[in-house]
Symmetry: C7
């Protein structure tokens, strides 16, 4: 059974979501996967030990860098951990 992970500091747990997508002819094609945040750490600490809140929230869809991140397996599912500062931006419709 998958355990729930609470990331430390400014780490963010990311799950890749492959949404269904359709061609004009009605054939389903895998669209380039978007990423959703599953869990967000409390934030890094500044030089005085105070926590700097992470500027993301659970459920945000984000653009990730091509490299980096740590692969994590919880139960059967696969996730990735990123530092908040490495996330390129948030995606909106």
């Amino acid at each position: 059974m998958a355990k729930r992970l609470l990331p430390t500091l400014n780490r963010i747990l990311i799950e890749k979501i492959v949404p269904p997508s359709k061609t004009n002819a009605g054939i389903l094609l895998p669209e380039k996967s978007s990423k959703a945040m599953v869990a967000v750490g409390p934030g890094a600490r500044d030089k005085d030990g105070k926590t700097i809140p992470v500027c993301f929230k659970e459920g945000d869809t984000v653009l990730l860098p091509d490299y980096g991140g740590t692969q994590v397996k919880l139960g059967e599912k696969e996730y990735h951990l990123y530092r908040d500062e490495d996330i390129l931006g948030t995606l909106h419709d």
Copy 2:
């Protein structure tokens, strides 16, 4: 359909614009492309976690370094992400 990207921290989304240009003989030649800012992050954080505002605004035309930046594809269009401190200057007529 292209999603809208809100860059994080001091990242800036740049779009290359190739304006039409004319020779004396009236032939259109591609001028060296200028760059326009499409979206600007809120700014990096200082050592206390406070945000340092980015010194650019959407629509600014900028001079970019020869190297660096991260290529980003949103829908059919291609963009580049730069840190504000890596942008060399703003261009004015």
Copy 3:
């Protein structure tokens, strides 16, 4: 006889626990080991020499990075020391 180790600064003493696990047929299989914290240092010091408390407590089950940590032998048992900032997150049911 094993001595008790009190870690310094933000070091954390980790013990790997291999819990018993059963297949459907009732055969015991070693599950991927979880990690429990045995002892937690007082915390790193900030730039003014003040202690930044460690954000873990004894008994927490944690997710560790694939690399890093220092192997430590106390009496017959084997432990690992990690810095608190290198621990990826805490695991909850």
Copy 4:
């Protein structure tokens, strides 16, 4: 047509000027070019995000290091960008 560049942060736009020079016999020889500042950025930011003013002003003649700087072409003319901290000194008659 050359655009005007406003440098960012502590960047400084330098133009090399080759002044006319005469030998005793009246023959013009190229003197080692002096450098004039064309445009000066507002200044780098300190650790709190405040701007540290650049200690040069437009029109200053400066001594440049042998290496470094970024070549920039604006219209037909060629310039160089330097950080203010890399400029060795100002020249006076």
Copy 5:
């Protein structure tokens, strides 16, 4: 004649002690040596020049990293100097 060394800053003078140890059959075997602190520096300085006291005291038994430290000979005896931040923890019965 051995001189007494007062370590500077956060340096700590360590002496390796090989205590006698017995097997069940009563044969003495060398146990893995424990380390005792002989002299402790006043502490490193923070960024304002204030001293950050060392979190050890003379006589503490400590766990050392496998690598690092500076070998020092005072008279006939051999010691090692470590920085306080490199010491893994204190050992207690």
Copy 6:
């Protein structure tokens, strides 16, 4: 004609002086050259942008490191630029 150089930040302009020197037999031998400060910058900036005054003054005779420094030619004369922190000490009779 030599221009006057005002060094920036904590740079210091040094001129090597080869004073005349005599053997017991009255033969002049070149003594190892001493160095005199010709011009002193205002000082480096601290992290808040404030200037930290240079702890030398024009005319000081100094001991230089064997390596480092930037060679500078002003008119016919040759000088060297050093950072104040790289100068080993001042020499006094």
Copy 7:
């Protein structure tokens, strides 16, 4: 004639002293040389430009690291310059 050197910042001028030493049979053997401080700089500067006093005084006998230091010749005598933070400790009888 040897000039007097006043070291800058936290540099310390060290002179190696080889004291006479006797075997039981009365033969003089060179003892491992001790080091005495000849001159002490005013101290390094902290991040605000304030001087952090050196924690040694002229005449202290010190333990030096095996590597590092800058050899300096003043007149006929040979000295070494060290940063105060590189000195391992002070020696006392």
